[in-house]
Symmetry: D2
Subunit: 362 residues, 4 copies
C-alpha cells in the first residue's frame, strides 16, 4: 500500500527502505532536502513540504511521523490541517502515551484517525525488522496492517512458543494492536523501562567481575573505606569480554542486549573513551511514574533509572550532605580520591587522636 | 573420552546423554539405582557405589559431580579418598565458589586436580547445550576440554560477534576457562545474580501492564491508599501474554527469559495456581555479598533479591513496625484488605474526627 | 488576631485550641455540627455554614482550610466566592503543591490571597506545636504570621544550632516562608518523602534484629530457600522493644520516630493485631515523581514507597511471573508456605529426579 | 570502680573523662605517650605498656579496649596473656560481632571474661553520654554495670515512654545487656545500618529541594537528557539550610541527625569544599550481609550503602557498560558533561541522521 513518511533519520529512512523492498509505495519528507534526495535515489517519491507530501497521497491517506517527541505535537497539528476525514496519522516516535490520549481526543471530531506505534529495533531494524506496539481504533489499525506486517520482523527470528498452533498471530509476526489510543506507546514505555532494568542488571554484574581481583589490587593501591575482609576470595582476574561472549551461548541470560554487550567489549575491551555518563530519554521516567501512579512496586526499574541519574552526578548534593553529617557526628574528614591504604591495615579516617584510638565510632 | 558421572538428576542425566551422543564413554552412579538403570539402558556403564565407579575408570580419571551443593563437600572427600594423583574431580553443581577455593587447596598435596564448572542451561540443556564456566589449573582444564566441548552448545545458536574472525574461541563454543579454582563458580554466581535482576525487570514491567487498567478498576473495587489521580491515563486492558510474545521479535529486550515468560503466559495466562512465593537458591545472595565485599554498587541485583525475600513475607515485621508508627503519630488505623473506596473520593484512613477533617496529616 | 477555621478534625480542632489558648479569636465550621458545638464549648465562635463563617469575620479575613485534599478544590471555590479582595485563604491540608500553583493562579485576578501551609505534627501537635512550611506571596505571609507563630512549636524544643545568634529566626520558631505559592506543600511533600525513608530504615533494621535468632529457629521449622550458611552467627534472641528504647538515648539515630517506635513496641511488643498492610497517603508518591521529573536519584525514598506497595500485595503478579519463569527454566515448583526444612539439609525445590541430583541449576 | 582503658583517641579519652568525673579510677594506656600524659594531667593513672597497665589494676580487673577494629584481635591476645581468671576484657570499638563470637569462644577456657560493647555517640559523647549495647555473660555484665551506668547518658535526655513506670530500666538509662557475646556489636551493627538509611533519606530529600528550581535553571544551562516536562512546577528556590532548621521543630522527622545536618548547613550553606566522596566503615556492609544471610529484605539500607559506593565512582565500569550498550543499539553518543540544551528543545543524542529524524529509538 501507499505510505507517507515524515522524518527520514536512521529509523524513518530504514522503515521506508523496508517498505519499498516489500513493494509498498512511499512518499517521503524531511526538513533535510538531502535526506529526501537520498531516499528518492532509492525509489521513494520525494516531497518538498508537508503539503506536497499530502497532495501526492491518495485518500484515504496514511502518514507516518518518525520525528523527535518534542516536535510531534506541532507536526501532528500541521499535518491534520492538511488531511481529510478518513485519513490516518501514525506517530511512530517515542511520544509519551499521554500525548497520544490527548491528541486522539483532539482529532476525534475531525474524522482523522490517530494511531500510536511504539517502535523498537534501534539501528538494526532495517535488517531485523521492528517490533511494533500499536494503539488506536480497530478500523485504523486494520487499514494500516499491511505496512505493519512489512515493517515487523515476521515470525522467522524466534522459535514458536509451545502451545501455539495454526496461523501465526500478529504478535508472532512482531506487531500487536495493544488497545485504544495510547496503548501502543504505553506498552513501548514499559518495554523501555524493562530495558533499563535488564541493562543495569548486566552492567552491575559485569562490574562485579571487574572487581573480582579486589584481593590482588588491595595490596597495591588506594582505598578509603572498610578494608577487604577476605582477600583470599577475590583473587580472580576475569576476562570480562570473553565472559560476555560465553554467556551468549546456552546460558539463562542470553539476550540481544548481551549480544550487543559482547560486541561492545570485543571492540573496546576496557571501554576506554566512555565516561559513563548515561543519558535517559524519557521512557524510563514515565515508566516509574506510571508505576507510582498505579501503586506497582518497581524497585529494580527505579534503581536502574536512578543509577543513570547518579552517573551524571545528580547525586552530588546528597553525597555532600552525607559527608557533612559524618564530619559533624564523627569528625570524619573526607579522604582524597587517590589516598593510599597501607597493605592489610585499616586506613584511619580521622585526622586527630592518639594513634591507637578509635575515632569516628558513631 | 571417558567420564565418570555422580548424580543423575535432570542435569547430570542429560549431560551424560549429550556426552554419549557424541561418542564419549560414561560410567554413572546415583544413590537411586533406578536412575542408574535408566542411563544404563541408554548405553552408560552403571556403578553401584562410588568405589565401583572409580574402579571402572582408567587413570587418569575424570569424575563429574552433579549433586546438591549441600552434599558436595562430603562426596568430594569420599571420591578423593578413592582416587590417585593425576585424577580430576569436577564439581558441576551450584557450589559457592569459596568452597572451591577451600577444596582445591585441601586437595593440592594429594595430586588430585579439582575443577569447578558453573553450568547454566536448566531443563533445556540436553537440546541447547550447557554454558560452562570453568575454574581450575590449566593442565586439568586442558585434559577435560573434549568433554566440555561436547557439553557446551557450540557456536551454532548465536551469530558471530562483529570483529571476531578465524577459528572459534572456546567462549564462542560455550565454554571458558575463567581462571583458577573458584573462578568458574564465581562467574556462574554473577551470572545468576544478573539472572535475578533480568527476571525482576521483566516481572515488574509486566506487573505495570497488568495495572494499566487501574482507571477502570478504581470505580469498581477496593483501595486503601492514595486515590489514582488521573484515571483517564490508565484505561488500558493489556493482553500481557500477547505482549510477551510480541517482544520476542525485533525488540531490544528479546531474550531467552522472555521466551520462557511468553511460554509460561501462553500456557497459563493468569498464572493461576502460582502463589508468587519465590524461592532463591543461594547464588543471588552470594552475588550481593560479593558486591558488598568489593564495594560494588548493585542496587538492581540487590532489589531483585529482596523482592524474593518479601514475596515470602520476610518483610512482615518491618511492615508491622511501619503500621505501628503510623498509628502512633497519626492515629492511622490499618485498612482491612477488602475495604472499599468510594468512587472518586479519598478514603479517610482514620477512625475519628469530624467528617470534614484532615486526619493523619503527618 | 482573628481566624476562620474550616474542618474541625483532630488537626483542625487542635490548631483552634492552640490559637485560643494564645488569645486568638476563632470562628469555626465543620460539616459535623457536633464538632462545631464541641469547640464552641471551648470558646470558639461557631458557624452553621461557610457563609455564616465568612460573615462573622472582619475584613481582611483569613480562613484556614483543614480538610481532606480531595475536597480542597471544591471548598476553595466555595469560600472564594464568598470573599472580598484582600482576604486570604490558607490551605493547611495535605494538598499536592501542583494544586496550589493552579489555585493561586486562578485566584490571582480576584485579589484574594492564597497561602499553602504544609503542617506536620500529627496527633501530638496540640502539645508540641506544628511545624509549618508556608508558600505564597510575601504580603499574605506577613499578615498571617501572628497565627503561624502561635501554631508553631516555638524555639523551646530543640537546642540552638551552633553559629546562630541574635533573635530567633522564623525557622527557629517552627515556621518558614519557603517561597511562592506551592512552596509550602512542596517542602512538606519532601518532608513526608524523607519520613517514608526514615521509617523504612528503622523498620528494616528492627526486622534484622527480629531475625537474629535465625540460627536457633532453623533447626525447628520451615524454610523454602537457601539454608542459613553460618548458623553459629545468628544465635541472638534480641528484645527489640528494649533496643528501641535504648537507642533513644545518646545514639546517632535518636529521633522522634524512634520515640514513637519505642512507645509502640512498649505497648505491643509483638505488634500483634497489625497485619503490616501499610497505607500511603500521596506525598511519598509525589516526592518520587518530583525526583524523577528533576533527575534526582532517590533510591532510598523510592524503595521505601515500593515497600509499602508490596506490603499490600501489589507485587503479586510480578512474583507469580518469577515463579512461572523458574518453573519454565528449571522445573522448580513453588514450595508451600509451611514446608519443612530438614535440619542442616538443603531442601530440594524440585519434585523429580534422582535423589542425588542437582535439579534446577540455572 | 576501677577501669583500665587501652586507646585514648577521641572516644577512649572522653570515656575516661566521663568516668573520672563520676569518681571512677582509671588506669590508661595508648601507644601515644602524649595521649597518656594528657589524661594523667586530668587525673588518670598512666601506664607505659600493657603490662604496666595490668599491674596497676586490682584483680578482678576490667580492661576496656577502644582501638581500631583492625587491631583488636592482636591486642585482645596480648592483654589476655597478661590477665588472670576472673578478669574481664571489654571491646568497646567497632568490631564485627563475628569476631566477638570467636574471641569469646577462644577465651572461654582461660576463665577470662569477654564483653563486647557497641558504643554510639560520636564526638558528642563526653557531654551527651554514650549509648551502650552490651554482649557477654551475665556475670561479666553485672560486674561492669557501674561503669556502664556512668558512661551511658542516663534518663535525662529523652522523655519517658508511655506505659513505663517505676524505677528506670537499664535501657532507659542508655545501656542494655543485649545477649551473649557478639550481641552488643550485632545490635550496634544494625544501629549503624539504620543510620546509613536515615542519613540517605535526609540527603536525598534535601537534594530534591536543591533541584526544586529545575524549571528556572533549565533555560539557562546544560542538560543531556529528557527535558523537564512541566517546568512551571519547578520554580522554587528553596533555602535548604533554613528548611533543615525548620524541620527540627515539631516535625515528624525531627532527629539528632537532622540537628547535625542543620548545623552543617548553617556553617557551610553550599557545602563547598566537600567532594561528596562518602566513606563507609564496615557496619553498613555487615548489616546488609546479615540481612542477606537471614533472608530479610532491606532495600532501603542496601540502597544507602550502594549510594556511598557510587559516590566514590565504584559504579564507573557499570556506567561505561550502559553507555557502550546504548552506542550499540541506538548509535547514541555520550553527551559531554557541559553540553548545552537549547531552551525548550530536546537535545538530540545522536550524531547523524536528518534533522527531523528520530534517532536512537529503542
Amino acid at each position: 500500500m501507499q505510505l507517507g513518511m515524515v522524518g527520514l533519520g536512521r529509523m524513518g529512512g530504514n522503515i521506508v527502505r523496508r517498505l519499498m523492498r516489500d513493494g509498498h509505495e512511499c512518499v517521503v519528507y524531511d526538513v533535510s532536502a538531502d535526506a529526501v534526495a537520498g531516499l528518492v535515489a532509492e525509489g521513494a517519491v520525494g516531497a518538498g513540504s508537508l503539503g506536497e507530501l499530502v497532495s501526492q497521497l491518495d485518500a484515504p491517506r496514511a502518514i507516518w511521523l518518525m520525528i523527535p517527541a518534542g516536535l510531534t505535537g506541532r507536526v501532528v497539528d500541521e499535518v491534520a490541517a492538511l488531511l481529510e476525514p478518513g485519513d490516518t496519522i501514525i506517530d511512530g516516535g517515542n511520544s509519551n502515551y499521554r500525548d497520544d490520549v490527548r491528541r486522539a481526543a483532539a482529532l476525534k471530531d475531525s474524522g482523522i484517525h490517530y494511531v500510536d506505534v511504539g517502535t523498537s529495533g534501534g539501528v538494526f531494524g532495517l535488517e531485523r525488522g521492528y517490533c511494533l506496539m500499536v494503539g488506536g481504533p480497530d478500523e485504523a489499525f486494520q487499514r494500516i496492517e499491511p505496512i505493519l506486517q512489512t515493517i515487523a520482523p515476521g515470525s522467522g527470528e524466534a522459535g514458536r512458543t509451545p502451545g501455539r498452533t495454526g496461523d501465526f498471530a500478529p504478535e508472532e509476526l512482531g506487531y500487536l494492536h495493544c488497545g485504544p489510543s495510547g496503548a501502543g506507546h504505553f506498552v513501548k514505555m514499559v518495554h523501555n523501562g524493562i530495558e533499563y532494568g535488564v541493562m543495569a542488571a548486566l552492567a552491575e554484574g559485569l562490574n562485579i567481575l571487574e572487581h573480582a581481583d579486589a584481593g590482588i589490587q588491595q595490596a597495591e593501591h588506594s582505598a578509603e573505606v572498610a578494608p577487604l575482609e577476605e582477600p583470599e576470595f577475590y583473587q580472580f582476574t576475569i576476562d570480562t569480554p570473553k565472559v560476555a561472549e560465553l554467556w551468549r551461548r546456552g546460558s539463562v541470560i542470553s539476550s540481544w542486549l548481551l549480544d550487543l554487550t559482547a560486541a561492545a567489549l570485543q571492540g573496546n575491551p576496557t571501554l576506554e573513551g566512555l565516561a559513563g555518563r548515561v543519558s535517559d530519554s524519557g521512557e524510563g521516567r514515565w515508566t516509574v511514574k506510571a508505576a507510582v501512579d498505579t501503586g506497582v512496586p518497581v524497585p529494580v526499574l527505579a534503581a536502574s533509572l536512578f543509577e543513570r541519574f547518579a552517573s551524571r552526578d545528580e547525586d552530588r548534593f546528597a553525597n555532600q550532605v552525607l559527608s557533612a553529617m559524618r564530619l559533624q557526628f564523627g569528625g570524619h574528614q573526607e579522604l582524597p580520591a587517590g589516598d593510599v591504604l597501607e597493605a592489610g591495615g585499616r586506613k584511619s579516617e580521622s585526622s586527630s587522636g592518639g594513634s591507637g584510638s578509635v575515632d569516628g565510632a558513631s
